[in-house]
Amino acid sequence: MLDGVLLGLSTALSMQNIILVIAGCLIGTLIGMLPGLGPMSIIAIMIPIAIKIGDPSSALILLAGVYYGAIFGGSTSSILINAPGVAGTVATSFDGYPMARKGEAGKALTIAAIASFSGGTVGAVLLMGFAPALSSVALLFHSAEYFALMVVGLSAIAAFAGTGRVVKAMMMTVIGLIMATVGESALFNAPRFTMGLQDLQSGLNFITIAMALFALPEALFLVLNPKRGKIEGTSGKIDNLRISRKEARQIAPVIARQSIQGFLIGVMPGAGATIASFLGYAVERNIAKGEDQDEFGKGSVKGLAAPETANNAACTGSFVPLLTLGIPGSGTTAILLGALIALNIDPGPRLMIDHPDTFWSVIISMYFGNVILLMLNLPMIPYIAKLLTIPRNYLIPFILFFTMIGSYIGQNNATELLILAGLGVFATILRFADYPLPPLLIGFILGGMLEDNFARAINLTDGASFMYERPMTLGLLIIGVGLIALPAYRRRRARALAKGVAPGD
């Protein structure tokens, strides 16, 4: 492991990569602050640039920097104007905005920055321990286990979709898998389901799909509802960035607990920064006693530190399944996975062996990224926050334009833009109907791999007997089914309870 760390250090400390971390964090913070652009959209826009860089380590370092920069930027707008740019920072506004209204905006930003820094750093340390361990186990996996593992990943994503949405999430996953079968696959080399259209022969482009699913609906919502992302009474100047010793003592245990809890939630597929931040907030409110508890929601420093620590730790945690198993746990990591595939890197347990420089330099660069967020972005926040005053008449056209150019320059094909507009409208309607969209993208990205591994396993055993003959495959498949069945069972029981049926039947 020490070799790896040293290799990672030497790669991450090259001039180019340091500049890329700084650039990534800055771009992420700037854009993450704007309403309507979350980390997924920003990363999707940055992918052509990352691919142009060519070196996978540098590309991933840039994109990871953008990712946590965006989460940090999202907290800033949550605190200052009560308009979270990112779902993972909604919980931040519960206590951050009241603090800002009390004239403590500077203090709130400092606490958010320290909490993010600690969460991210503890997350990176845990990632360093977790990832290689999981990688060495994953090396024992065979295509049958891979297939089963992806089934577990996809069902976990559906299971975490929330009550009443599990079937919808599964439906979206299957639609994503169906979309992945369009075009030529690696195993068959003959076009399938292209409806005779030449433009579909190489399959649908994942950047277009990512833009259509996430960036476009957000932009359209900004148009539909002018109140969304509008400044509701700014809190005035950001002056005093200092926090007192007493406050530091108050938030220290919160940060310690939430770093670990957030990381563990982030590792689970499907439960990303959003769930981690809400859960972190809820847990800390329950732990707090007396006056401390009453303070929550009115500008408690603990209530601000908890979700901020948890969401950054979870962002780092979500890299564990991505780097070790090649299975993305969230929409954002799914886009990162797509970028890695485009850079000719096969993510999975072999990543640590075949591309140790990429593997380790990304982890090491996370430390730098967190330091940069704390040292560079925090003092600059008062100036960056000016961005929030851009009028929407200027902002929205540019957001739409960036969405289109992101999917256009990858392929240089104007048909992509028509697909983007069509899918974007459909995705907006799906959001209205409360269908979760990340499962669709994850299904689409995993579809090819899922089918290839399934085919390989069937070819090797000449039938589907591998599903019950290999104990590890069987175990994983049972977990997958259990993940889906459990929420359905609990929902049925909750409904029965509501009707007055006694529990235990």
Binding site: P48, I49, K52, T163, G164, V167, K168, M170, M171, V174, I175, I178, T181, S185, L187, F188, A190, R192, F193, A219, L220, F221, V223, L224, N225, R228, P391, R392, N393, Y394, I396, P397, F398, L400, F401, M404, I405, Y408, I409, N412, A414, T415, L417, L418, L420, A421, G424, I429, R431, F432, A433, D434, Y435, E451, A455, I458, N459, D462, R491, R495
Partner: protein, 157 residues
């Protein structure tokens, strides 16, 4: 019928068409002896999709279904700016159709100014200046830094 059920019906239709296409998939002669066929996985997916869409259609919507905080609500549809949003979509389609013939720079400036106008911006001199500066600098970045060719000007120039 609520919107989510209507969408489930649409998914059911898609699944049926997809299922038909995968069950009647024309196999090449050498493919017939393979144990895993190009339509094996699609067949399974279509069956799964049909079952799931039927479940969504028949299960009643749970009471007290709370939305995500800050998410959009179909019940408030009447209060939203539907016309502006449709204008954005039409502008995007026009942009897609015009990008090649009239070139990147005119198409983009036109798109930015047009969508700004739809959103209610009436200070056109500002908007055109900002759009022109933004477009040319992005064109320069993409073309020169990323090395991706974008035809800047119309076909006759």
């Amino acid at each position: 019928m609520t919107l989510d059920k209507a969408i489930a019906v649409l998914f059911l239709l898609i699944a049926l068409i997809y299922g038909y296409a995968s069950f009647t998939y024309h196999l090449l002669p050498f493919e017939r002896n393979m144990s895993f066929l190009p339509n094996t996985f699609p067949k399974a997916l279509s069956v799964l999709a049909i079952i799931l869409s039927l479940i969504i259609i028949v299960t009643p919507k749970p009471a007290g279904d709370s939305d995500e905080p800050g998410d959009m609500d179909i019940k408030k549809l009447g209060r939203y700016n539907i016309m502006q949003a449709s204008g954005m979509i039409i502008a995007m389609v026009l942009y897609a159709l015009l990008l090649r013939p009239i070139g990147f720079i005119p198409a983009t400036i036109g798109f930015l100014v047009g969508t700004g106008w739809i959103l209610g911006e009436r200070k056109l001199h500002y908007m055109i200046a900002i759009a022109a500066i933004g477009t040319v600098s992005i064109w320069y970045l993409v073309q020169e830094t990323l090395g991706i060719y974008l035809k800047p000007l119309p076909w006759f120039m």
